[in-house]
Amino acid sequence: MTMKEDTDDALAELKLLKVPLYEWLERREELISEAVVRKLKLALVVSSDDELRFSPDDLNEIEMVIIEFTSLIDGRGFSLAVMLREKFHFRGGIRAVNVLEDNVAYLEECGFDSFELDSGKVFSSCVQDIAVPNHSPIGFAQRLNRLKFN
């Protein structure tokens, strides 16, 4: 088991100001001020069918990106996380929402570090250095942990 249930998660959750992507793109400055006033951290909510049309700088103020999967068999969110890490060099948290338990290890390898399963269970990863996805194809041994998860 590579995951732990984080008892602090519920508390951390209360400290987030969750902002949908379109709203963030429309009134970024306002939202930053609002977060400061309310002493909250900004969490950007992205749907797996959104396109990531912003620059890496747009993510400077973002504590966490929450990727909501439109369905359990929608693979787009996997690519979005990889792109956040590789293309936008995002080092904050990336949460997967509405995903299968069986996919958690795959998600982890794409750069996600916390998960809200379809069952509602929420937990975060305790794997170190997750911010750099590893795509080396000769990674069979490394991928073993993905299978051992269940």
Binding site: I73, S79, L80, H135, L144
Partner: protein, 555 residues
Amino acid sequence: MYQYSDAERQQLTVRAEQFDQQIKRFQQGQIHPDIFSQLRLRNGLYEQRHAPMLRVAIPYGELGSNQLRALADVADQFDQGYGHFTTRQNIQFNWPKMVNVPAMLKVLAAEDMHAIQTSGSCIRNISTDHLAGVAVDEVEDPRPWCEMLRQWSTLHPEFNWLPRKFKFALSGSLEDRALIRLHDIGIQLILDQQGKTCFKVFVGGGMGRTPVIGKEIASQLTEEELLPYLQSILRVYNLHGRRDHKYKSRIKILVNDLGIEAFREKVEEEFESIDKRNLNESLAYLDQFKLAFKRHNRAHASSPIKQISVDQPQFTAWVKRNVVAHKNPSLRNVMISLKNASEAPGDITSHQMRAIADIADSYNNGEIRVHHEQNLLLPSVPADRLFDLWSALQKFELARANIGEITDMICCPGMDYCSLANADTIPLAKELNQKFESLLTGYETGIIKLKMSGCMNACGHHHVGDIGILGVDKKGEHWYQITLGGQGGLDAQLGLRLGPAIHRNNIIDALKILVETYIDLRQSRESFAETVKRLGVGPFKEQVYDGKGIRNQAA
């Protein structure tokens, strides 16, 4: 052959255990049936008309004799004593029980085999030329690259939930024998001016209900560019491929909708940002892969083959039809036809599997290949041992000399097994065998590639047959649409429709007329395909529908 590392072996066992757990969770109601079906598909398990079907991966069609014996064991222990080779070089078992599948997977895992990603919306088995490494016209052996792609695509974290299935084929020869332009991605190995390996990449090819010939997306990628470029193509497809409609979700639809230029632009934009260093760590393993496939084909003295053939016309016919030249002049590649008159095309009994395994051990170091036309190949047999080999194969009804002929048809499982099928295919194949046996006596009809699918999904490759047959359902009756002039290869072409669909009762007659028309119209040594190319569909259409006139209706 490539040998698995201990880590890979361990992985297969773990995967089988994981699937066992998933089945148990499903049975306890902890996994929704729709989700479970996705998980079982990624482990090769289908639901068919009568029973589940397990498709086992044979990476790029290469099998060791021990693996073939393990497949025979699986057929005996968990199925009805036979298996079926597919058009993507895999093998299917038609009668397993779902609860036994994890146990089957463990038997397979012991010989480095599995069913991972043999179905579902993910990257499927990598296929290639059945003559890889032994072809006379080979530029470069594609198998080390097949192995690289196998490792890259197996359990790929990003691409396990694509819009639809995704198929790769590679070819390293001048002639493409792997249908690379009819795959989601087709890769041709070429050499640049300095003699370095490069890759020409085709994208968006495929058969199915919307057949499309793959378009060239990159003319000459270097070794360092290949994996990042493929990763970019897959990412663009994963993000932008349609997910709203099953029949519009293959990459060919996306490429056609965007146009190849716009699609290429998106791919190249992704390519810029991909971490190439990370991906290319795998190139360090290339030499190891190359070594694994290098054969030390010792030269063998040729013995008087011709002398034997004088006394044995059957042997002569078999050599002519089933024996293929080898890049080493003292070796031969031997095709084993799995198209016997009494069996379904591509079917093989466990008894025959074991026989072939033993024969391979004594004639060619135990190496067996699966051809996408549903036959087997024994590569690198010493030329002076052909007669002995032929005699050995004959004992097991494995020496039918019909490779490439009309009776060597590709055939999907059709109504006998598949729940998608509209029409019979296997019974048609059997009837064709019976009727054509007598018809063809005394005629040299040469190569006629007949490819038959029981529905529009085109598993029987009918779009690229010299003669293609597509089963359609009309008010519960089986009708068949005929196409002519299809072909794979670098200059791939889709077959043209002959005319209205033909009723089950008349289809064999129609095929007979097609062959007779060819015999009437051919010039000197012209093949069926060449005659169709020269004359077009017209004269054949005329003969089938008007001239010799079949009565095209239900009896």
